[in-house]
Symmetry: C2
């Protein structure tokens, strides 16, 4: 997965993230904070220079914070604020900066309210969470007990010339950290370190055209904007390519809007969403706005498409029925696929995919139905149909189309890629047969 | 998610990981290398002290490598070995160490073979991948073109007293890095830095008992082993608790085996697997070994269970049919749930869950069937049934059991947790009704 940026990048507030926790360095948990914080900041015109993960062993943790504070304008520390004996960030940072821990009654009140709201007694050990390094600002935790802490160090004793730094400590659980970061940290950041100039960015989500073809297609239309200083980036994902525009300066918003307009003009049929939108969201929304009902008949994807479609809140308005017809007899019994068809062509074939989609559409009384049959592997290959072979059918009022792909990946990737292809195919049909113009989708 | 280790940890070869790539610090991709490498090493008795991510901007990358080499016995750098202009690791490391890049014909031969094997011409720009810092050992890449590189620095010019360090550079794509790490790096590591004493570890996967209850249950049986130096760790995941034993010394393997035996004796009904095994794998294997056929009727989980069950290779021997009956009429039509039942009790109710499971079992001719109906949210709450309410039924020859849970999470977590509960419940039924003793599963 490559992310290529053309154009300039602008230096700003130097920022470092320190993730603490022995479980990170034992590989027991995945560090999702890095991506989430970096992404959140990048979308607001900020960059992160370095991220470090260390155990909660005192020497390692203190060394990492000391180094961060010796270099950066802003240091974010995650984890180690809870009530257990391996939550050491509060104490160690206070020690490093030579500050006492002081009791903050308002934190104790919040913690009590948190437990009382849940009808549970307040554990004695949470009292330590209201002990705060002297001078720290408390960041309210609405989804847990440990408050975040912010310290404005001016002078910063650990930095050359005493240059100021902002130290922000956040609780480790993502469901506590994320709302705190957005609600408590970002407003303080904007006040503390305002951007030097306006910033705008936009990501368009596309499907059905490879990264280099997309680059080629957009080169002409966007050249002028890139030459005038706009950043243009491509990020190839499985079955998708993100196209991202970043601009700074007084015209930033207008530049990005113009880039989006030109891209939709040049490759609009491939754009299915913006920012973090998924294909499943695009498909559900496109069906919903047209009052179309969707049905799914999955063999080799085994419910993967249904699972993703039903991840979209409100999917029940669109998807009433799905089938996982793994066995031949299920294809016959549930979807009315003729036994003769299965016998003659095999379960993995164009006619069976077609019959599955048409059967699902008929049984469910749906407007659009997807039928998928293929060989997910690792075994199951037959003459002329290697592992990864898949047939995807989309049935609708205007007829049924079937596509054949060779998705030669491991089993889970096979399912993911096949689902991407199936949803993209169904989306094109929905946009084509619908009454609302594709241009109004975003 | 807490990982608590009781007992001692043993210091070894100091190890640091440096992940390079601007896409990491823009938050465009998730850094999975850290977890994977740390986990792989931890399972082999090794620890990682620090992980750093930096952009591929030269100053940042060089500073990170210099610092790593000034501190650690072993420095692992990932990314930046490809053929594009932002792949700078090779050049920058050669520059930092004052080494020339030399052409290695054997790498060029490998690259040519890689492309010829795929019937594609060799891109001219891949030639740069055969330019290697003088003295570097080449690590074969069987899944891509960029070789890994290993440099034994003795003396290490960047470390106090010239103490030796081992610098290993690996390509960024996980499907290239992982096999290279296991096949090329690990044998060299064992030779270069053998463990001081034998090491053994074992993780038991459990479900149905919370972390603190599990801790309580195992405290007595395992106390002797922990006092004699074994590490005991618990890692609470959603619907699962990992129990992990780590031992060192001549008896390491025997100690860990004894800990496993005692744990199975004390809490065996909750142990569903070992190491990375999943509940879906345990369920499929348990059904397969007993010749039992499984059917799934999902409403609120929308195919999530089917998707996970079909992630298991060979699931087709066990799962023939699944239904996603999101709408009431689908529950009636597909599973024969009586309209009166839906009218009287509502779709989210004990009788409907029961009727779904029994209907699926009957329609599919299955031995065991799961029926799930609930309110995934964010909307849909009704009087007495808040968002997160779910009924899970398991139907089998001996009858049907139904459980009610309140899984008050976001939509996707709701589906995951509910699936965990449903699979754990079905697994207990399978183990109970089966002919093979549960103790033979692992």
């Amino acid at each position: 997965m490559a992310f290529v940026l053309f154009g300039s990048t602008v230096a700003g507030v130097t920022t470092e993230i320190i993730n603490t926790g022995s479980e990170l360095l034992l590989g027991r948990v995945l560090n999702t904070h890095q991506q989430w914080i970096c992404r959140t900041l990048a979308d607001r015109g900020r960059t992160v220079e370095r991220q470090v993960a260390v155990t909660d062993e005192p020497t390692a943790l203190v060394a990492a914070v000391r180094e961060g504070l010796s270099r950066a304008d802003w240091v974010i520390v995650t984890g180690g604020l809870g009530p257990t004996c391996d939550d050491r960030t509060r104490d160690l940072v206070a020690g490093l900066l030579g500050r006492r821990l002081v009791h903050r009654p308002e934190v104790e009140v919040q913690i009590r309210a948190y437990f009382e709201g849940r009808g549970r007694p307040v554990p004695a050990r949470t009292r330590v969470e209201s002990m705060v390094p002297e001078g720290a600002e408390v960041l309210v935790n609405r989804h847990g007990t440990a408050p975040g802490l912010a310290l404005w160090l001016e002078p910063n004793p650990l930095r050359e010339g005493g240059r100021a730094s902002w130290l922000v400590m956040l609780p480790g659980p993502p469901r506590e950290l994320r709302p705190m970061f957005l609600g408590e940290v970002m407003p303080r950041l904007e006040a503390r370190f305002p951007l030097a100039e306006p910033f705008a960015c936009r990501t368009l989500k596309t499907t059905g055209l490879g990264e280099s073809y997309m680059e080629e297609r957009l080169e002409g239309p966007l050249r002028g904007l890139v030459e005038a200083g706009m950043d243009l980036g491509f990020c190839a994902r499985v079955g998708e390519v993100d196209v991202r525009f970043v601009a700074r300066g007084p015209d930033a918003a207008a530049v990005v809007a113009e880039a989006e307009r030109r891209t939709r003009e040049a490759a609009g049929e491939h754009v299915f969403g913006v920012e973090d939108e998924t294909l499943e969201l695009a498909l559900v929304e496109a069906c919903k706005v047209r009052g179309l009902r969707l049905a799914l008949a999955e063999s080799c994807t085994g419910g993967h498409v249904a699972n993703r479609v039903t991840n979209v809140p409100g999917a029940s308005a669109v998807l009433h029925s799905g089938w996982v017809t793994y066995a031949n007899e299920a294809k016959e019994r549930e979807l009315g696929v003729p036994a003769a068809l299965l016998g003659e062509h095999g379960a993995v074939s164009e006619p069976v995919a077609r019959a599955m989609a048409e059967g699902a559409r008929r049984m469910a009384g749906a407007d659009i139905a997807i039928g998928i049959t293929g060989i997910a592997g690792p075994s199951g290959a037959v003459e002329g149909k290697p592992v990864g072979t898949v047939f995807i059918a989309v049935a609708h009022a205007g007829g049924t189309s079937v596509a054949r792909h060779l998705n030669a990946f491991d089993r889970e990737t096979f399912k993911y890629v096949t689902a991407q292809q199936a949803m993209a195919m169904a989306l094109r049909v929905v946009l084509g047969v619908g009454l609302v113009d594709a241009g109004t989708r975003s």
